[in-house]
Each structure stands twice: as C-alpha cells, then as structure tokens.
Amino acid sequence: MTMVLIVCSIILIVVTGSLLRSMSQGSQTSGSEKSLKAWSVVNACGEYTLAQMVASSSATTTAMNWEFGSTTGMQLNVGAETCYIYPVGAGVASGSKLIKASSTVSGFTRKLQIEVATNTPVIILNSWEYVADFSN
C-alpha cells in the first residue's frame, strides 16, 4: 500500500511539474510576442507622425508645420493593432516639439517619445526614446 502511494505521488509530481512548466513557458512566450507587437506598432506611430510633419512642411515650403495631431491626437491602425498619437507638445530644448505615441497589445504597453528639433528644411531629431511614462 505504501509503495502504491509513493509511486502515485511521484507520478502526480511529474505530471504537475510538466503541466506548470508548459503553462509558464506559454505565458512568457505570449508576453514576449505581445510586447514585441506593441513595440513594432508604436514605432509605426512614430514614423507616421514624422512623415506627416515632413510631408506638411514640404507641401507648404513655408514655416514649420507643427500642427499635425495637435488638437485631439489620433489613432492609427497598424495591421490588427492600433496605436495612439498624442497631441504634439513642446519639447525640452528651445523651439523643439515632442511627439508622444503609445500602443497597447493585450495589456502590454510600449510608449515612444520623440523630440524634434526642426522639420524645415530637413527633419532633425534630438531624441528617440522608449519610455515607461511620458515626461510631461
């Protein structure tokens, strides 16, 4: 009887361990995938905003056009995911502007902050940072 109990216990431990390991790996891999997706989508928002800024300035060939997304912000669809571009604000450096974008994929959020020195005649970036939270 004791032997039966010991053997059953060992089997139970092995099975439970195997199951828990599998579930843990699945959770980790799924988290990595969502985080990577959020990263690629938030990059899309950054590139899109910069492209819009440059396209606006080259179309008018006048003063810098900082108005893109400056009132309400906008949502951009990238594949099956979305990212959000916040209203463009003032950067830390004098005269610079701050682009802020974030993307959340199944609870995994990535935030991107780009400081643009100028967009006329060429666009010059002061910084391109992935942040935990926006500075202002």
Partner: protein
C-alpha cells in the same frame, strides 16, 4: 470442529477488478494526455520564441534596407507593393522576390504596401510554420516605415 473463515484472504470480486482496471486506465490516459500535451506545448513555445526572434530580425533587416537607400529615387521608394523574402549575403540584407525558408522550417514573408503619406510603406512580417503537419501557426509584426532620403531631398530643394 472449528470452522474459520479468513476474511483477509477473500480476494477481489469481478466488479472490483473491473472497477480497478477502469480507474487505472482512465488515470493512465489522463496522465499520458497531459504529458503529451505539455510536450507539444513546450515544443510549440520553443518554436514560437524562435519565430519571434526571426520576426524581430526581419524587421531590423527591413529597416536596414530602408536606411541603406541613398539616392533620390531610392531602391526602397521604388519597390513595388507585394510579398518578398530576405537574404543575407556577407552580412548585407536584401529583399528576395519571393518568401524564403529559414532553417528548413519557418517561411518568412515580408509584405509591403504603399501607405499615406506616399513616403510611407506599411510593412508586415509573417513567420509561418507547422507545429504538426495539420497544425499551421504563424507570428506577425506590423509597422510603418518612411522613405527618409526622398523626403530629405525634396525638402532641401528651395
């Protein structure tokens, strides 16, 4: 005359035996199923991590190809919309005309679609493979990449 029944050595009835075999069979089946499923999931997770790595690598490679465009009407800008693969020749990435196979297992497809503004392209990277012959899966990454050299040249013109 002494008549003694030894109850301890009575043995199993047929019903008990059938019940014991049924419980043992069900337990064995459940345990085997859990172990096999766990192994399949572990294999799948390992392959999915590899696929994610290949997807990230592919995205970096496409960014590198975009960044290497230097002329006014660059290679990246003139690429038609469609599906491509990737190849690496002496450390230099380039786009292939059709999806490529990595490690004889993963099929990599780079899809390019012109976006708005026209200097942008929507990029979709898909890594597809089969966990088992009848269980295909894939991971994908999507982003937007801008054609900077063209924009730079356009805006630098007075």
């Amino acid at each position: 005359m002494k008549l003694i029944f030894n109850i301890k050595n009575k043995g199993f009835s047929l019903l008990e035996l059938v019940l014991a075999i049924a419980i043992f069979s069900l337990s064995s089946f459940a345990i085997a199923t859990i172990l096999i499923d766990s192994n399949v999931n572990t294999k799948f997770n390992k392959e999915r991590i590899n696929a994610l790595f290949y997807a990230k690598e592919s995205l970096d490679a496409v960014v590198s190809i975009r960044n290497s465009s230097t002329s006014t009407e660059s290679y990246w800008f003139t690429l038609p919309d469609g599906s491509y693969g990737l190849s690496n020749d002496n450390g230099l990435w380039s786009l292939d005309a059709s999806p490529d196979i990595i490690s004889d297992k993963y099929e990599r497809t780079i899809s390019l679609v012109s976006g708005t503004p026209t200097s942008t392209k929507d990029v979709s990277i898909s890594i597809a493979w089969d966990i088992t012959p009848d269980r295909p899966v894939n991971v994908s990454l999507n982003t937007v990449l801008t054609e900077w050299p063209v924009v730079t040249n356009a805006t630098s013109t007075p």
